[in-house]
C-alpha cells in the first residue's frame, strides 16, 4: 500500500475565512413519497473544521449525509466538493473525491484482522500474494500519525466497540479523505471512548481533515464542533457559527423548537419496602470471565436507583442475570421475598420484573413483527392475549391501540412493523410493553440510547411516573446526565461490584466520574488527546 505514503502531512491550519471551502451544499431537497426528508438545505464545510449536524431522530441528518456520500441522489439542489458540482455517482465516486464515511453500523469483517480489513477493497499484492506486511505497516503508520493506537494483527471481533470504530476511521483515512463523515459516532461508545473519539476528531481536524458528524448529544457538539447546523423535520432551522457562548439548552431549544427540560422535575422519593435485593452476585461474561463479582444492592419501592459506571464493568451481565437471561455462578437475587436467582426470563418477568433491555434491536424487539405483536412479546400466551393456546388478535390490537396513544408511539397504525420505526419510537414500544405490565421492579438499561430528545424526555417522565406509582426502578446508564437527573440514589459500579452509594440529590459529577474510573486509570490502549 505504497499510495498511503502520499498522505497529507499535518499542514498548518489557515485562519478562519482563509480556509478552503471543501463542501458546499445549496438548496438540496430529497423526498420519499410525500415525506420531505430534506428540504432546501444549504450548508458549508471548510477545510480543517468540525461541523456537527444536530437533530432529533427523523430530522433528516442521515439522509443528508447519504447524499453527500453518494448513497442517495438528491431530488434537487447541488453538492459542490472542492468547487466541483458533478453528481456523486456512488460511494466509490465519493471516496475518489476525498469523502470518507464511518457508518453507525460498522462495515468491518469480524473474522479478519485489522490490517486485512484495511486493505479490503484495495488489496495490494507482492508477487501474486497479498501484501499483508505492507498493510500492517500502513496500519502502524496511520496509527502513529493520528495517534489512534490499534494492533494491526488483532481480529476485529475481539476488539471493543470503540476500537472497532477506530479501525473504521483508519480505514477511511487510508483512502486519503479530506472530509470524514461520522454518522452518530458516539451512539455505541462508552463515555470514556466518546471522550477519546472527540479528541481524535480534534486531532484530525488540526491536521487539515474536515469532519461532519451527526449527533443528538448536545454536549458533544459543544465539546468538539467548531460550528453546527441544527436540522428539524428535514430543514436547517438554525446554525451556530461560534459555539463558545452557546449552551446545551440553546441547542436543545433549536432542535425541538422549545425548551427541553434536561433535568426532570420530580417529587421527593418516598421509598417503601425493599423490592430488589442482590447479595454477593457473581456472573460470568460471554468469554467465561468474571464480569459481576460480588455485587450487592438493594432497591426499594418508590425509588430510582441509578447504576453509574463505565460500560463494560459488568452492567450488562448484571442486568441480564437479574432478568433471567444469564445464569449466575454465586450469590442471590430476591424480588420481595421471592428468590429469583435461578428463574428464567419468563418466570422473572411474571414475578414482576419489567426489563427495558440495553440493545432494543437485538433483544427488545422483533423488527419484522407488528407493533402490536411486539407489545405482547413476553405476554403473548397470557389472558387476554390468548385463550388457551389460540391467540386473540382483537385483544392484542386493542392493547396496542391503547398503548400507542398512551406512549405516543408515532406510527401510521399498530400493524406497522416495529422495524420501520425510528429509534425513539422503537424504544417507546419497548418501554410501553414493560411498563404496561405494572412491574414491581423496572429495570431500564440505557433507556434513551440513540433516542431523540423529545423521546428522552418522555421516557424519563414515564420512569419517574412508574416510581411515583410505587415501582422500584433500577436505572443502568452510561449517560451520567441521565443518572444524575433521574436517580434518587446512585450506586457506582466498577469491576463488577458496587464501589460507592450516594444520594442522588446534590451528587457531584466529578466525584462520580472519579468513582467510575476506579482507583487505577481505567484506560486500556487509550491515549490522551492532545490539544
Amino acid at each position: 500500500m505504497s499510495e498511503h505514503t502520499a498522505y497529507t502531512e499535518g499542514p498548518k491550519v489557515p485562519a478562519r475565512g482563509e480556509r478552503e471551502t471543501l463542501l458546499e451544499i445549496d438548496g438540496l431537497s430529497k423526498s420519499f413519497g410525500t415525506v420531505h426528508a430534506n428540504k432546501d438545505i444549504s450548508l458549508r464545510v471548510d477545510r480543517g473544521e468540525i461541523v456537527a449536524l444536530l437533530g432529533e431522530n427523523g430530522a433528516g441528518k442521515s439522509t443528508l449525509v447519504k447524499q453527500i456520500f453518494g448513497l442517495m441522489t438528491p431530488d434537487s439542489g447541488t453538492i459542490r466538493i472542492k468547487g466541483d458540482t458533478a453528481r456523486i455517482k456512488d460511494p466509490k465516486d465519493a471516496i475518489r473525491r476525498g469523502i470518507g464515511m464511518v457508518h453507525q453500523h460498522f462495515q468491518l469483517v469480524p473474522v479478519m484482522t485489522v490490517a486485512e480489513n484495511l486493505m479490503l477493497g484495495h488489496e495490494s499484492t507482492k508477487g501474486g500474494v497479498l501484501d499483508l506486511e505492507g498493510a500492517r505497516q500502513m496500519v502502524r503508520e496511520l496509527s502513529a500519525r493520528h495517534k489512534l493506537s490499534v494492533d494491526p494483527d488483532a481480529e476485529v471481533e475481539d476488539l471493543p466497540v470503540g476500537t472497532q470504530q477506530r479501525v473504521e476511521i483508519l480505514k477511511a483515512l487510508s483512502r486519503q479523505v479530506d472530509l470524514l463523515i461520522l454518522d452518530e459516532p458516539t451512539a455505541v461508545l462508552t463515555p470514556q471512548e466518546t471522550d477519546e473519539l472527540l479528541g481524535v476528531m480534534r486531532e484530525l481536524a488540526s491536521g487539515g481533515t474536515s469532519i461532519v458528524f451527526i449527533t443528538h448529544k448536545l454536549r458533544e457538539v459543544l465539546a468538539a464542533a467548531d460550528r453546527c447546523y441544527v436540522l428539524r423535520q428535514g430543514e436547517v432551522v438554525g446554525g451556530v457559527d461560534d459555539l463558545t457562548h452557546t449552551t446545551t439548552s440553546d441547542l436543545a431549544s433549536m432542535m425541538v423548537g422549545r425548551d427541553v427540560v434536561l433535568r426532570i422535575d420530580k417529587a421527593e422519593a418516598t421509598p417503601g419496602d425493599t423490592v430488589l435485593s442482590i447479595k454477593g452476585l457473581k456472573v460470568k461474561d460471554d468469554r467465561g470471565l468474571p464480569a459481576v463479582d460480588g455485587f450487592d444492592l438493594d432497591v426499594r419501592a418508590g425509588e430510582i436507583v441509578g447504576l453509574a459506571g463505565v460500560e463494560g464493568n459488568g452492567q450488562r451481565e448484571l442486568v441480564e442475570s437479574i432478568a433471567g437471561m444469564r445464569p449466575s455462578v454465586a450469590g442471590s437475587v430476591h424480588l420481595g421475598s421471592k428468590d429469583i436467582t435461578k428463574s428464567n426470563a419468563r418466570d422473572t418477568n411474571n414475578a414482576g420484573v419489567g426489563h427495558v433491555p440495553e440493545d432494543r434491536e437485538k433483544h427488545g424487539l422483533v423488527g419484522g413483527y407488528s407493533i402490536a405483536d411486539n407489545l405482547v412479546l413476553n405476554r403473548y400466551d397470557e389472558e387476554p392475549f390468548a385463550k388457551g393456546f389460540i391467540r386473540d388478535f382483537g385483544a392484542v390490537r386493542n392493547h396496542a391501540v391503547t398503548l400507542r396513544e398512551e406512549f405516543d408511539i408515532r406510527s401510521p397504525n399498530v400493524e406497522a412493523p416495529a422495524g420501520s420505526l425510528s429509534g425513539g419510537n422503537k424504544q417507546k414500544v419497548v418501554v410501553a410493553r414493560e411498563m404496561s405490565a405494572k412491574p414491581q421492579l423496572l429495570m431500564a438499561a440505557q433507556p434513551t440510547r440513540g433516542v431523540d430528545v423529545g423521546s428522552i424526555e418522555f421516557i424519563h417522565r414515564r420512569i419517574v411516573d412508574a416510581r411515583d406509582a410505587g415501582a422500584a426502578v433500577l436505572l443502568v446508564s452510561a449517560e451520567l446526565d441521565e443518572i444524575l437527573s433521574l436517580s434518587d440514589r446512585i450506586a457506582v459500579i466498577h469491576d463488577g461490584r458496587v464501589v460507592a452509594e450516594l444520594p442522588g440529590k446534590g451528587a457531584d459529577r466529578t466525584e462520580i466520574g472519579r468513582l467510575m474510573a476506579g482507583d487505577s486509570d481505567a484506560g486500556s490502549d487509550s491515549h490522551s488527546p492532545s490539544h
Binding site: 415525506v35 466509490k92 453507525q104 434536561l262 393456546f389 425510528s422 424526555e457 414515564r462
Partner: protein, 398 residues
C-alpha cells in the same frame, strides 16, 4: 472548547411536565432514517409488493423456458411436449390419479421443510424422515396383519409419524445439545436411513424372502388405501387439511408465535422467555412427523404396497423445491406440490408418447429450485427496492 459539565438547566420552565411533544411531533416522519428506501411506484412497485407470488412464478416460467431449449435440442417441439405432459397429468383419469398420488406426499414433505424454515432451520432430511416413516408403516402393517384392517392403518400411520419425528429429532437434539448444524446432520441421516433400510429389506428382519427382489412384506390387502371413489387418494384430503392446520398453527396459536419469534430474532425470543431449544425440537419433530406421514401414504396407497428400494424416489428433496417455491408459506405448498406432482406424474408419458427422456422433468425441477433458492436473482431484479431484510447495508462502493 466548551465546558464539559452540562449546565443543569436551572431556568427550566415548569410546563414541560407534559410529556408528549405534540407541537413538534405531528410532521416527524415515522419512517426510520436509516435503511428507509422509498416505495417503488408503477409496474415495478406492483412486482415488489407481490414478490411472494412474482418470484416463484418467474422461477417456474424461466425453468420452463430453459427446459424448452433442452427439449428442442432433442429434436422435439417443446410446446407440444408440455401439452402432452400436462394433458396427461390433469386431463386423463389415470394421470390425474397419479398427479394426486404424487401431490399427497409432496405437500407433506413441503410442509416438513416449510415449518423449520420459520424457525430458521433448513431441514434437508425430509427424504430420510419419509423413509423412516415408510419403513415404520411397513413393519407395523405386517406385524399387525391379523388385526382388523382399520386398526392396521391407524397404527401404521401412527408408527410412521413417530418414526419420522424421531428421525428428525436426532438432528434437532444434535443441534441443541452439540451445536451440530442441521443441514449437515439431516443430510447424513438421509444416508443412514438409506443404508439401514437397505439392510432391513434386503435379507434383514423386515425382508420378504419369498420375493425375488429386496422388499418388505406387502401391506395386508384390507389395509391398502385404494382411492376413494376410485379417484381421490385418501392421503390427499389429509395433506390438504394438514397444510391448513399448519398455516393456522403458525398464524393463530401461541406455539406458532413462539416458533416464528425464534426464527426472526432468537435474542428477542430469549429475552421474552421463549426457548430456542424447545422451538427447535418442536419444529423438527413436527416436520419429521409430517414427512413420516408422507412415507406411510406412499406405502399404504400406492402399488405395490411394499417398501422397496427407490420407493421414496426424490420426494424428500422435491419437498425443498416446494417449500422454497411456496416461500415457506404452508398454504403455498399446495399449488407448488400440485405443479411438481403433475410434472412427476406426467414424466413417464413424455417417454411413452414422444420418446423424450423423462429426466427432463428432473432438470425442470432442478432449474426451478435453483431459481427460487437464489435470492441473488430477486436482488438483481429488485435491486435497491429490495426489502430491508434482504438488503445489504450500503458500504464502500456497494
Amino acid at each position: 472548547m466548551a465546558d464539559p459539565d452540562l449546565p443543569p438547566a436551572k431556568d427550566a420552565p415548569a410546563p414541560a411536565t407534559e410529556p408528549a411533544p405534540t407541537d413538534t411531533g405531528a410532521a416527524v416522519p415515522v419512517v426510520a432514517e436509516r435503511g428507509a428506501t422509498p416505495p417503488p411506484t408503477g409496474v415495478l412497485g406492483i412486482l415488489v409488493r407481490h414478490q411472494a407470488i412474482v418470484v416463484p412464478i418467474l422461477a417456474v416460467v424461466l425453468a420452463f423456458a430453459i427446459g424448452a431449449i433442452l427439449i428442442r435440442a432433442q429434436g422435439f417441439n417443446p410446446t407440444y411436449a408440455y401439452e402432452v405432459l400436462f394433458t396427461h397429468s390433469f386431463a386423463t383419469e389415470s394421470g390425474l390419479l397419479a398427479t394426486m398420488q404424487k401431490t399427497t406426499p409432496l405437500i407433506l414433505v413441503g410442509l416438513a421443510v416449510a415449518i423449520p424454515l420459520k424457525v430458521g432451520l433448513f431441514n434437508i432430511g425430509g427424504q430420510g424422515q419419509l423413509m423412516a416413516g415408510g419403513i415404520g408403516a411397513a413393519w407395523a402393517s405386517y406385524a399387525l396383519r391379523d388385526l382388523p384392517a382399520a386398526l392396521i392403518v391407524v397404527v401404521a400411520v401412527v408408527v410412521a409419524v413417530l418414526l419420522g419425528a424421531m428421525w428428525a429429532s436426532i438432528a434437532a437434539l444434535l443441534k441443541t445439545t452439540r451445536g451440530v448444524h442441521e443441514v449437515i446432520s439431516t443430510i447424513m441421516l438421509n444416508s443412514i436411513a438409506v443404508g439401514l433400510i437397505d439392510w432391513l429389506v434386503n435379507g434383514g428382519p423386515l425382508s420378504d424372502k419369498g420375493q425375488p427382489f429386496p422388499t418388505s412384506h406387502a401391506v395386508p390387502e384390507g389395509a391398502r388405501l385404494l382411492p376413494f371413489l376410485k379417484l381421490i387418494p385418501w392421503g390427499l384430503p389429509v395433506a390438504l387439511l394438514l397444510s391448513v392446520v399448519v398455516a393456522w398453527m403458525l398464524k393463530r396459536t401461541t406455539l406458532g408465535f413462539e416458533l416464528q419469534t425464534v426464527g426472526r430474532n432468537k435474542f428477542a425470543a430469549g429475552y421474552a422467555g421463549i426457548g430456542t431449544t424447545k422451538a427447535t425440537l418442536v419444529a423438527m419433530a413436527l416436520s419429521g412427523g409430517l414427512a413420516g406421514l408422507a412415507g406411510a401414504f406412499e406405502l399404504l396407497q400406492i402399488e405395490p404396497y411394499r417398501y422397496q428400494n427407490g420407493i421414496a424416489g426424490s420426494l424428500g428433496f422435491d419437498g425443498i423445491t416446494i417449500a422454497l417455491l411456496a416461500r415457506g408459506n404452508p398454504l403455498g405448498t399446495i399449488p407448488a406440490a400440485v405443479l411438481v406432482g403433475a410434472m412427476r406424474a406426467g414424466a413417464p408419458t413424455l417417454q411413452f408418447q414422444l420418446g423424450i427422456r423423462p429426466e427432463v422433468v428432473d432438470v425442470l425441477l432442478a432449474i426451478t429450485l435453483l431459481m427460487v433458492s437464489l435470492p441473488v436473482i430477486a436482488k438483481l431484479i429488485f435491486r435497491r427496492h429490495a426489502t430491508k431484510q434482504t438488503q445489504l447495508a450500503g458500504s464502500w462502493g456497494a
